[in-house]
Symmetry: C2
Subunit: 359 residues, 2 copies
């Protein structure tokens, strides 16, 4: 029996993707091997990785002025790579702080010897919204932000105009809506939200920007090295790319692209926010309404005991992964691409019933 999966990441994957992966486990594309047992230099694997990249480019509308690479190490390693490639020791860079992951990115820039600066922060308001005022350093080599804040349930609706190239951690909203890519110099996303299994990270970076990266960077952390080797400087995480590639095809062919996906995601999120807003205060959203995320819906019940009971009873009812991040507590429903409207309807039904009997 499958559950309704509201995990914050790793999270739900499309069932047809899992079914295809299971079916082809012992003999993938007629190679007589699992995709994991093929050499990464085999024609079939190179073709698969190229297909994944092409499908991703087509979904996102990324032209050849962008390099697209599959990396390892998650978003956390990108924090380091961005600082090393584009700021370096004593380099200047701006960070916008919207919560836990932004803070981590800022800290890694410091460890790399760069001088990161806060151009904006919503910390004084406990990260309940996206900042509106910015103080950019005209000498900064880049500006970094987190597009969707998984922990706090906030999401950018409009991106700021920045004097330096904008670099964005898109992990928890990647491929959930169309993106004005031209606003950015570099975007990156760990796979384990909307794309595939943990273990691969997509980075898209404008080639003219990558060309200006610092030369003194370890090979595995150097964007130019990874780009030149077309994601195969060393053995790439083939399985994670493979599952991500199947998800790209599902997004293109079954869902119909990012406009269609965004509309499905909008309705899912609105279904849940409506229930919260109409609960007479029994459920309380923690993000300011104008900053609410379509990916992670964070909310609280009147007291801790009810929070705990909700989590426990939801899990017993087949609604998985509703606990808030361990740093903030509360509740959180993550509505990634593979979470269906039917899953959300089940959750809303459960929430109505919970309020009726416990409220």
């Amino acid at each position: 029996m499958r559950v309704a999966n509201f995990n914050p990441g790793p999270g739900a994957l499309p069932v047809p993707v899992l079914e295809e992966a299971a079916r082809d486990m012992l003999n993938w594309r007629g190679t007589g091997m699992s995709v994991m047992e093929n050499s990464h230099r085999a024609k079939a694997v190179i073709a698969m990785v190229e297909e994944a990249e092409a499908d991703l480019r087509s979904l996102m509308g990324l032209g050849q002025e962008w390099a697209v690479i599959f990396c390892q190490g998650g978003a956390s390693l990108q924090f380091t790579m961005i600082a090393l490639n584009f700021a370096g020791p004593a380099g200047r860079c701006d960070y916008i702080n919207t919560g836990l992951w932004s803070t981590k990115a800022y800290k890694e820039a410091k460890i790399c010897g760069a001088n990161p600066r806060l151009a904006a922060t919503s910390e004084p308001d406990d990260f309940t919204h996206i900042p509106e005022a910015f103080d950019f350093d005209s000498e900064a080599q880049y500006v970094h932000l987190t597009a969707n804040n998984t922990v706090r349930g906030t999401q950018w609706k409009q991106y700021p105009k920045t004097p330096a190239p904008l670099m964005a951690d898109m992990s928890s909203e990647f491929l959930s809506r169309p993106l004005e890519a031209d606003r950015f110099g570099l975007i990156y996303a760990g796979a384990q939200k909307n794309m595939g299994p943990a273990g691969v990270t997509v980075t898209a970076v404008k080639r003219e920007l990558a060309d200006r990266a610092r030369p003194d960077v370890p090979s595995m952390l150097s964007y130019p090295v990874l780009i030149k080797n077309e994601s195969m400087y060393n053995t790439p995480p083939v399985w994670s790319i493979y599952i991500s590639g199947l998800t790209f095809k599902w997004l293109k062919n079954t869902i119909g692209g990012l406009e269609a996906m965004a509309e499905i995601n909008r309705i899912k999120a609105e279904t849940l926010y409506r229930l919260i807003d109409q609960s007479g205060g029994f459920y309380r959203g923690t993000a300011r309404p104008d900053s609410r995320s379509h990916m992670n819906v964070t909310f609280l019940l009147p007291d801790q005991e009810l929070n705990d009971r909700f989590k426990k009873e939801a899990q017993a009812a087949g609604l998985e992964g509703l606990g808030g991040h361990r740093s903030v507590g509360g509740l959180r429903a993550s509505l990634y691409n593979a979470v269906t409207q039917d899953d959300v309807n089940k959750l809303v039904e459960f929430m109505r019933e919970f309020q009726r009997t416990r409220g």
Copy 2:
């Protein structure tokens, strides 16, 4: 139809491991989700990672004086991590050069600002054997070597006594034989040879050594940070750890441990070397006999045309992955743990027949 898989890595995985992974794809351990869709903070996933670590420790006989972590980025990122954690800018370190991967490790230490030095090299003999004489720097912070040389088909039979902690890239021989772990300060191995899918790297490091690591290292590259967070500083590559864990159980329960595995591997390798040595010079092994690897058997035919024809006809006969590394050409049969004696017998039969008809 499954092929006989002699790929150099990614390579063959045990069929029962693949069958279990396929079977549990939509509902792993009764969670109602794939293992990939579970949160890495879920009890079932934490238990799975702990089991994998415990099985690995038991297979290798690693006590609590060792930290064992699952990393990302392959052996190539370990090259950088070792230099950053244990040498650092202007630090001194010794490298033993036995081929392509040793050279890469050395180069990364240089990029990190350390002063790597060659304590021995078999480059003058075209890397056909393991060095016998060493010139260690008594001030070096560590000595690095590559245990098995995938490209050249050489393998250490006895490790040198070193004045500084010995660090070894074990990627292509990991878990293929018992290991005198106490000879080492740190060992590491990419999964994609004897363990599981590309995307995870195991590192075992003596705790007292890790405690002396430099503090100014980016979090994702810091051994102490990864150890303290028990492989979960950020989302780990759950699928790759899961498949590796299934392989550890197969090694323990089906094979019977590393002594038994080593014996199977010895017989596989000897079957193939015997055929080569008895071919009257038609097949010529490229490694010096006393340095021959049990994992990667490298050989040549009398001319390039025969090499090419061999590769092509072998592939048509269901014998996969026999091409030599692109840097050296020739032929190579990789006999990792999941390659069976039956696979090797098929190869030997093919080689006899090829010599009979083309020799």
